[in-house]
Symmetry: C2
Subunit: 342 residues, 2 copies
């Protein structure tokens, strides 16, 4: 049984996409789960009424597992995170996240302002000891099994120690969220030899060798779409958030570009390619946990469709059910102790 708080006001298509996404999720999830819509109650109620009297009438029987939690403020998509953190303590993000330390909710999901979600999550949930900042992990579909890439945008100019922390966080993520046992870690670089890379990556390579993690060594950009290097499959790719963000956004854009090009070439319709599209569709993989905070905070794309919100809610449920957050805390404290003994 999980209680998932959902930011009803966050995202380019709020409140309609979050409300529809919540109804779709409830219809598909085990009936023990509930969703808490956080935002301005009258706006949310009107949206639920519209959804149930229109496109989503068939989902009416699930609406009794929706709760409404009042939050009077809304953080704009373009608002500066620092201003949003200080200036709007009653925003749907603040209120929705605070439910967790209060014991009233198990997870938070938002398609709103990502920078604000990171900052408020860090403030409200706080970080596990030993971390300086949270990280965002994204699941990349590949030719083989999917691969966790982190950091994918929360941290630029990362230290070797931060890259090592990403590896620890990503390892637990791959275990709990993707069911991989003893996940294989690759460090993104520009050659597989340990001496290849920038200053931070070269030092991180040495730290990873001694980390106790299942470290495969350096991997390259070409290994990512394959889900493997010459040395075998990869579960987690570690990189700084500048590189990770560039790769993620490139991938999101290049996939439809190439698929359209081939479809045109072959005289195929988009419908005929729907199954292929689905495998690469962001909305099917949507929902990136902010890793490192003491709680569950799932970041969904600003342009999230109802389907993408549903997917993010399912990610939240899985994170709660697998107790990923506890595992991260334990893993980090074990490695801290091992480090102090060594």
């Amino acid at each position: 049984m999980a209680r998932i708080a959902l930011d009803a006001m966050g995202g380019d298509f709020a409140p309609s996409a979050p409300v529809a996404g919540a109804l779709l999720a409830l219809a598909e999830l085990d009936p023990s789960h509930r969703i808490q819509l956080v935002g301005i109650p009258e706006v949310i109620r009107r949206e639920i009424d519209e959804a149930l009297s229109g496109a989503h009438a068939a989902l009416a029987s699930h609406a009794d597992r929706l709760d409404i939690i009042e939050a009077s403020d809304v953080i704009d998509m373009s608002e500066k995170p620092s201003a949003a953190v200080r200036g709007k303590p009653n925003s749907s993000m603040h209120v929705g996240l605070k439910l967790q330390p209060e014991g009233r909710s198990d997870a938070f999901v938002s398609a709103g302002n990502t920078g604000a979600q990171m900052a408020i999550s860090t403030l409200v949930l706080r970080l596990h000891p030993g971390l300086s900042r949270p990280a965002i992990s994204t699941v990349f579909p590949t030719a083989a099994q999917s691969v966790v890439v982190l950091d994918s945008g929360a941290n630029v100019d990362c230290s070797p120690q931060e890259l090592l922390q990403f590896a620890r966080l990503g390892s637990v993520y791959a275990e709990d969220m993707l069911g991989r046992s003893n996940p294989v870690i690759g460090l993104l670089s520009i050659g597989e030899e340990p001496e290849k890379g920038n200053v931070a990556v070269k030092e991180a390579h040495q730290l990873l060798l001694q980390s106790g993690l299942n470290f495969q060594g350096n991997v390259e950009g070409r290994d990512l779409p394959m889900g493997r290097s010459d040395r075998g499959p990869i579960d987690v790719v570690v990189c700084d958030g500048f590189v990770g963000n560039a790769l993620l956004k490139f991938y999101e854009a290049v996939a439809p570009m190439l698929i359209n090009m081939v479809a045109r070439q072959a005289g195929l319709s988009k419908e005929q390619l729907a199954a292929t599209f689905k495998n690469l569709d962001y909305s099917e993989h949507g929902g990136a946990p902010l890793l490192g905070v003491k709680g569950v905070s799932i970041i969904s794309h600003g342009k999230s469709s109802p389907r993408a919100i549903t997917s993010a809610i399912k990610v939240a449920v899985r994170a709660v059910e697998t107790r990923m957050n506890d595992h991260i805390g334990r893993r980090l404290s074990e490695s801290e102790q091992a480090g102090s003994v060594a």
Copy 2:
């Protein structure tokens, strides 16, 4: 009329790919051009004989525009560049590059050890004043016009000043090699706002605003496959070599992966997709000039096919014909003078 020196010993498929690539190039180029095969003469002669008595018999009439230049040493693909620079002064790379300052050749092309080619090019040709290292630019095919990306692997941990130099080099490259007038420069970052990015990128943004270049501002990973941002088409994307290399290798691998996936889905054969493949085929775009050296040194992929070598030779011819190298020298000295006046 251009004299192109080709490293007959460099690349995974040497000497057969360079020799075949040279013959194919001569058949397609204006008859005023000559190719100088640099390496061990008996190996080269045997390879030419085999090519002309076998698969490339039809090209025999072009063989009189092949010259053989003796070089007794070969640099291994896996050799350390620093060792190769010092230890093998008679390598095909050294000998082939030295022809330029001696006035005996106009350009050098190799599919051999890239690190060694960079180091020996810098040593033998030397850098234009004001540069600390050369850069590698790569042409990315996109949904629209192609885009020059640099640095794509020669420089990691770049300073803001180096990123600015990449923009100047890339601008001349796009003008001369791609025929763009007043090329539009984008700075790769993780958001379009000037304050988004890592430390080096944020400072480079400010330098680019004052550079006199046609600077569009920050661009993101998603703009690259489109060849444009929301603000219009892009000709050149500037990034450090770590990011550029990761993106390049990712792109090279993701394109065939996605195309195969769609082809399988749609029940198409590879042959039916040949035209689409061609547009994204590395060998059709192969040949990246090392920018910043006083001369022409074209880097070809280690796995270059004969076709890819031909393409690299054509890049060399164009660089010679457009006098790209002189333009780079003039552009850099103009900007140095403008800087010292300001």
